[in-house]
C-alpha cells in the first residue's frame, strides 16, 4: 500500500526537485560570495553599504564590455574573453570602490548613519552611469564553455556546476586570508579597535580602503560568474542587494560563518521554491523569515548578542 497517497498534497516529481536543488545550489554559491562582501564591509568598517548591489551590477556590465571586446572586436575565443573578464572586471570594480571610500566614506569619518545616506547616493550614481554608458538593454555574455552533466532525469549545465566550485574555492581563499595571513590579522585588529590599531602603526585608512575594495570585488566576481546564466542589465543590482541583506541579517551582522550558512539556506530554499512554485513566493517566505528573526533573535542566528 502506498503511504504517500495519504499526504494532503502531492509530492513533486523527483526530477523537478533535483532541478530545484541544483538551481538553488548555484544561487546559494553566488549569493554567499556577494553576501560575504557585504558582511566583511559591515563587520570591519561598520558601514552598511547600500551600493553593494551596484558593484555587483558593475561587475556584470564590465564583463559584457570585456568579453564583447575580446570575442567581438578582436575575434578571440569565448573562454579567453571570459577569463580576462573574471580577473579584470573585479579588479576595476575594486579600484572604483577604493576610490569611493577615499573620496566619500573617509571624509564622513565612517559615521554609520552618514555612510548609509552616502551609499544610497552612490547607488544612484553608479546606476545612472551604467544607464548612460551601457544603455537600458539586457545583454548576454557567452559562457566560456558548456557541457552537459547527465543526471538520472536530465542533462545539467556543467558551467553552472563549475560556478559552484569556483565560488567555494574563492570563499576558501577569503577565509584563509582573513584567518591565516598578516593582512587578515591587521584587518581584525582594525575591526576590534581602530584607534588603538593606529597607535600601533596600522594604517587604518588603507585597511578600510582595502576592505571596501575586497567587499565590492567579491560582489563583482559573483556577477561575472552569473552573467553567462543571467544577462547583464543596469538594474540587476536590486535582487542581490536584497538577498545579501536577508542573508547578513539572518546570519548575524558581521558573522562570516552565519553569512555562509544563511546564504546556503536562502539560496537553496529560493531555488527549490522558485522551481516548484514560483519566485515571488520564495521572496515572500525569505522576507517573512527575516521579520521573524528580527523579532525573536535580532542578533541573527549566529551573531553575538549585542553588548
Amino acid at each position: 500500500m502506498d503511504l504517500l497517497s495519504y499526504l494532503p498534497f502531492t509530492l513533486p516529481h523527483p526530477a523537478l526537485l533535483l532541478a530545484g536543488v541544483l538551481e538553488g545550489t548555484v544561487l546559494a554559491a553566488v549569493l554567499a560570495l556577494t553576501a560575504l562582501g557585504l558582511s566583511i564591509v559591515f563587520g570591519i568598517m561598520r558601514v552598511v553599504n547600500v551600493a553593494h548591489g551596484e558593484f555587483y551590477m558593475l561587475g556584470a556590465v564590465l564583463a559584457w564590455f570585456i568579453t564583447h571586446t575580446i570575442t567581438g572586436a578582436v575575434g578571440g575565443p569565448p573562454w579567453l574573453g571570459f577569463a580576462v573578464a573574471l580577473i579584470v572586471a573585479p579588479l576595476i570594480v575594486a579600484a572604483i570602490a577604493a576610490t569611493t571610500d577615499w573620496l566619500i566614506l573617509k571624509r564622513l569619518n565612517y559615521d554609520p548613519e552618514a555612510t548609509i545616506v552616502a551609499t544610497i547616493g552612490i547607488l544612484y550614481i553608479l546606476q545612472q552611469l551604467a544607464l548612460t554608458f551601457y544603455g537600458p538593454d539586457a545583454r548576454p555574455v557567452e559562457a566560456p564553455f558548456d557541457f552537459r552533466v547527465q543526471t538520472p532525469y536530465f542533462g545539467y549545465s556543467g558551467y553552472k556546476l563549475c560556478v559552484v566550485g569556483a565560488a567555494i574555492l574563492l570563499m576558501l581563499v577569503v577565509w584563509l586570508v582573513l584567518t591565516r595571513t598578516k593582512i587578515g590579522f591587521v584587518m581584525r585588529a582594525t575591526q576590534y579597535d581602530s584607534e588603538t590599531a593606529q597607535a600601533f602603526g596600522i594604517p587604518v585608512d588603507k585597511v578600510y580602503a582595502g576592505v571596501f575594495a575586497l567587499g565590492a570585488g567579491l560582489a563583482a566576481i559573483g556577477a561575472v560568474l552569473i552573467v553567462p546564466i543571467q544577462q547583464a542589465h543596469y538594474l540587476m543590482g536590486g535582487d542581490p542587494l536584497l538577498l545579501s541583506f536577508i542573508v547578513v541579517i539572518l546570519g548575524g551582522l558581521g558573522s562570516l560563518k552565519g553569512t555562509l550558512v544563511a546564504a546556503i539556506f536562502i539560496g537553496l530554499s529560493d531555488g527549490i521554491i522558485s522551481t516548484l512554485y514560483e519566485p515571488t513566493l520564495a521572496k515572500i517566505l525569505a522576507t517573512l523569515l527575516v521579520a521573524m528573526v528580527l523579532v525573536f533573535r535580532p542578533q541573527g542566528l549566529f551573531g553575538a548578542r549585542a553588548a
Binding site: 588603538t196 593606529q198 602603526g201
Partner: protein, 232 residues
C-alpha cells in the same frame, strides 16, 4: 626630546586643549596631574595623532610630528599605554604582543624580553586577552607598548584599579626604563604614586598647563599639590 608647544585641540567644536605645552627629556619621568576631564588623556592622544592638534607644534628630536598620519607616529618610537588598557580583547595575549612587535618590526628577542619582564604573560600566551584579570591586562598593555622598544613612553593611569604589589611592579619597570634613557610621560591620579616616582610634575587645569614643578619640591612640601589641583 619630545616637545609640545601651544597646542589647541577640539572634539568637534568643543575645545579641550588650550595652549598645552610641555617638554620631556630622555631618562626623565614627567607626570601630568589634573582633575577628571582636565585633558590629560586628550594630551596623550594628541601626541599620538589620534586627536588632531589644530594649532601648535609637537616635535620629537627636532622633527615636527604633528603633521604625520597617526599610524606613522608609533613608528618613530613612541609607545602608548592607553587609559583603560584598550587591549584587542578578542585576540590572544600572543596576538596582542604581535601587534606591538609588528609596529617597528621587532622580533623574537624583544618578545622574550617582555615575557621575562612579565612572567605572568608567558603562561597565558594562548588566552584571549579579554579574559585576563585586570592586573594581567595592564601587564599586557605595558608589554605591548614596550614591544616597540620606544624612546618615548606615554602611560595613561597605568595603576588604575590595581593592587599594591602590581603597582610596585609597574613602578619598578618604569624606573628601570628611565635608567635605560627612555622619556616617560605618566598620567596619574594618585598623588602618592606620583611623588614616589616623578622627576617633574606638570599640573593641568582645563586643558591648560599651569605649572611644572620639580618633584623634589613637592616631596618636601606635599601641601603644594593641594594648592595646584585640590586633589589628594
Amino acid at each position: 626630546m619630545l616637545t609640545l608647544s601651544n597646542i589647541d585641540a577640539f572634539y568637534g567644536n568643543v575645545q579641550v586643549l588650550r595652549g598645552m605645552a610641555m617638554e620631556v627629556q630622555r631618562g626623565e619621568i614627567l607626570c601630568l596631574l589634573g582633575r577628571n576631564g582636565a585633558g590629560k588623556t586628550t594630551t596623550l592622544k594628541t601626541i599620538m595623532g589620534l586627536v588632531q592638534a589644530r594649532t601648535g607644534s609637537i616635535t620629537l628630536d627636532g622633527d615636527d610630528i604633528a603633521t604625520l598620519p597617526a599610524h606613522e607616529i608609533p613608528k618613530r618610537g613612541i609607545g602608548y599605554v592607553p587609559q583603560g588598557r584598550r587591549l584587542f580583547a578578542e585576540m590572544t595575549v600572543a596576538e596582542n604582543l604581535e601587534i606591538g612587535l609588528m609596529t617597528r618590526g621587532k622580533g623574537r628577542k624583544v618578545r622574550e624580553r617582555m615575557l621575562d619582564l612579565f612572567p605572568v604573560l608567558r603562561d597565558r600566551l594562548k588566552q584571549v586577552s579579554g579574559t585576563l584579570s585586570g592586573g594581567e591586562q595592564q601587564m599586557l598593555a605595558m608589554a605591548r607598548a614596550l614591544c616597540l622598544e620606544p624612546s618615548v613612553l606615554l602611560l595613561d593611569e597605568p595603576t588604575e584599579g590595581l593592587q599594591p604589589s602590581m603597582i610596585a611592579l609597574i613602578r619598578d619597570v618604569v624606573t628601570e626604563l628611565r635608567g635605560g634613557d627612555t622619556a616617560i610621560i605618566l598620567v596619574e591620579q594618585r598623588v602618592d604614586a606620583v611623588l614616589s616616582i616623578a622627576d617633574r610634575v606638570l599640573f593641568i587645569e582645563n586643558g591648560t598647563p599651569r605649572e611644572a614643578v620639580d618633584a623634589d619640591e613637592l616631596r618636601k612640601e606635599p601641601a603644594l599639590v593641594q594648592r595646584y589641583v585640590g586633589i589628594a
